[in-house]
């Protein structure tokens, strides 16, 4: 602009005096505006350099964090599980409580990749398990509060114990899948999602117990246990068993029997956990 005028009789601060609050513009006018006392910090070339280096270091650090985070937690894959909308959540919640009428349990694919949960009610998602977990913790706090046993530390204890049970269940299922050498396309996140669906039933049971007393708790818990049992069987059947056995035909062979037992035990573990994690909330 006007930086290199030799005929100036005063310091040209038009570059620095642009009202610029950013470092970069000050960098250009840096050496010229050195005479102005107020600008001394920003105009000193060394501090300019330091600031530029610092900001480049910060952006490098951020890139590194993003790259490494992506290695441990695949963000794009996680985003798939959260691509839900209200209609899907409503239908899925209905399925979790009443799975008996649903006919087609297959997950539809689109050129080898499963369709996003938004478009297919059978696809697993992580929104419901995540919200279910948080709601379970809050409802547990509420239940403990009505029994006058509430304290914030207890909330943390509840949260961590539920979380630990979840992790252990997922690990157990993974181990058994590995031992039975099932050829399936279930990912760890899928298993996490399926294990997290039982929180919905738990919440229904605890809320019913809080509102209407112990018999209501037992009744609704029984209903939800049966529902989640059927839900898990029908979902896992398609994923774990071979196609013939999944269609219901009797197929001989120890491998298929083993897979059948595995499916049954995964499904049976859900009601057990549901009762285990809620019975102490309703006294």
């Amino acid at each position: 602009m006007d930086g290199s005028d030799g005929s100036q009789l005063f310091e040209d601060t038009s570059g620095a005096g642009l009202g610029s609050q950013t470092v970069y513009r000050n960098q250009q006018a840096g050496p010229q505006a050195a005479g102005i006392p107020g600008q001394s910090l920003l105009s000193d070339p060394m501090s300019n350099l330091a600031m530029a280096y610092g900001s480049s270091l910060a952006s490098q650090g951020r890139e590194m964090v993003d790259k490494n985070l992506d290695r441990f937690i695949p963000i794009s894959k996680l985003k798939y599980y959260f691509a839900v909308d209200t209609v899907y959540v409503g239908k899925k919640l209905g399925l979790l409580v009443f799975p008996y009428m649903h006919e087609n349990w297959e997950v539809s694919y689109q050129q080898d990749t499963p369709v996003a949960p938004r478009f297919d009610v059978n696809a697993p998602d992580l929104y419901i398990p995540a919200m279910g977990f948080i709601t379970y913790i809050l409802v547990a706090g509420l239940a403990l509060g009505t029994q006058n046993r509430f304290s914030p530390e207890l909330l943390g204890v509840q949260a961590s114990s539920a979380f630990v049970w979840l992790i252990m269940e997922v690990l157990a299922v993974l181990l058994s899948l590995y031992l039975v050498t099932v050829n399936t396309d279930l990912t760890t996140i899928d298993l996490l999602a399926f294990s997290g669906y039982k929180y919905v039933g738990m919440i229904v049971g605890v809320v019913a117990g809080l509102l209407f007393g112990k018999p209501a708790y037992y009744l609704s818990l029984l209903w939800c246990c049966a529902a989640i049992f059927v839900f898990m069987i029908r979902t896992m059947r398609l994923k774990l068993l071979s196609e013939a056995a999944a269609e219901g035909r009797l197929v001989r062979g120890t491998r298929n029997q083993l897979r059948m037992y595995l499916t049954m035990s995964i499904a049976a573990a859900q009601p057990i956990f549901m009762y285990w994690l809620t019975y102490h909330l309703i006294r």
Partner: protein, 252 residues
């Protein structure tokens, strides 16, 4: 210095921006002696009137110009307050936007404009949090630590959830700002709770209404700024959980 300011007001009647003045000074310095008719062409938009050809006083004026222009950046601030952009503008606080956002929160049925969240300011939310704490304290519960802790945790959680759910990148400041603004009905509820106790059917109903109101507004602003269709209730649910915790603090 007073008459000096008067002096330069005579010169530069339209704009007081430092860049123009800086440039004006530079230009003036360069072209003053060489081409006096340069001014008469009127090419320079920031010098509407032809400057007086008397160079001496003008030169004096120029001499002081650059010392003044860093005043706009706020180094001394004692000279020429007219040159600086208004302090609020510099700080980025615009009362008009704050008022617009407050109105959007207060009227949950009016569709939100997606552009109001372009500059995220956290001053409003922090003021609301503090007001909530004060009104709770007036009711006898000093829970400042809980309020700040819960709001910080919830902001982080909401940021993660929105980042995963939306296709547009989410900024943390926007999340914090929206959550804080929609705290306004809760503040009103807790102020109300100072005078009338909220335990009982009416209190519960009022609390539920306020929770729905806050979470509805928050989700409305979120989905309008991040272009998420069909997910309003999904976003409203975690907001409702968060505001439910605050209401629990206010009620019990």
């Amino acid at each position: 210095m007073g008459d000096f300011q008067q002096f330069e007001q005579d010169f530069y009647q339209t704009r007081y921006y430092t860049d123009d003045q800086g440039q004006a000074v530079a230009y003036y310095d360069i072209y003053d002696s060489t081409s006096p008719d340069y001014n008469d062409d009127g090419e320079q938009a920031f010098m509407p009137e032809a400057l007086d050809p008397s160079t001496e006083p003008q030169y004096t004026g120029q001499f002081y110009q650059p010392a003044m222009s860093p005043g706009a950046v706020g180094s001394t601030g004692t000279d020429s307050p007219e040159e600086e952009p208004p302090l609020l503008e510099e700080l980025g606080i615009s009362f008009d936007h704050i008022w617009q956002k407050t109105l959007t929160v207060l009227n949950p049925f009016k569709p939100a404009d997606g552009s109001i969240m372009n500059e995220t300011d956290v001053t409003g939310p922090i003021v609301f949090c503090f007001t909530l704490g004060v009104s709770l304290m007036m009711a006898g519960k000093a829970h400042f630590g809980y309020i700040y802790g819960i709001s910080a945790t919830a902001c982080i959680g909401m940021y993660i959830l929105l980042g995963l759910m939306s296709t547009v990148t989410v900024s943390y400041g926007c999340v914090a700002s929206v959550l804080g603004y929609c705290l306004l009905p809760i503040v009103a509820l807790s102020a109300f709770a100072v005078f009338y106790s909220l335990q009982g059917i009416l209190g519960t109903l009022l609390a539920l209404l306020v929770i729905c109101w806050s979470s509805f507004s928050a989700s409305k602003i979120f989905i309008s700024t991040h272009a998420m269709e069909g997910q309003q209730l999904l976003v409203a649910y975690p907001c409702a959980l968060l505001y439910g915790i605050f209401v629990l603090l206010a009620v019990f």
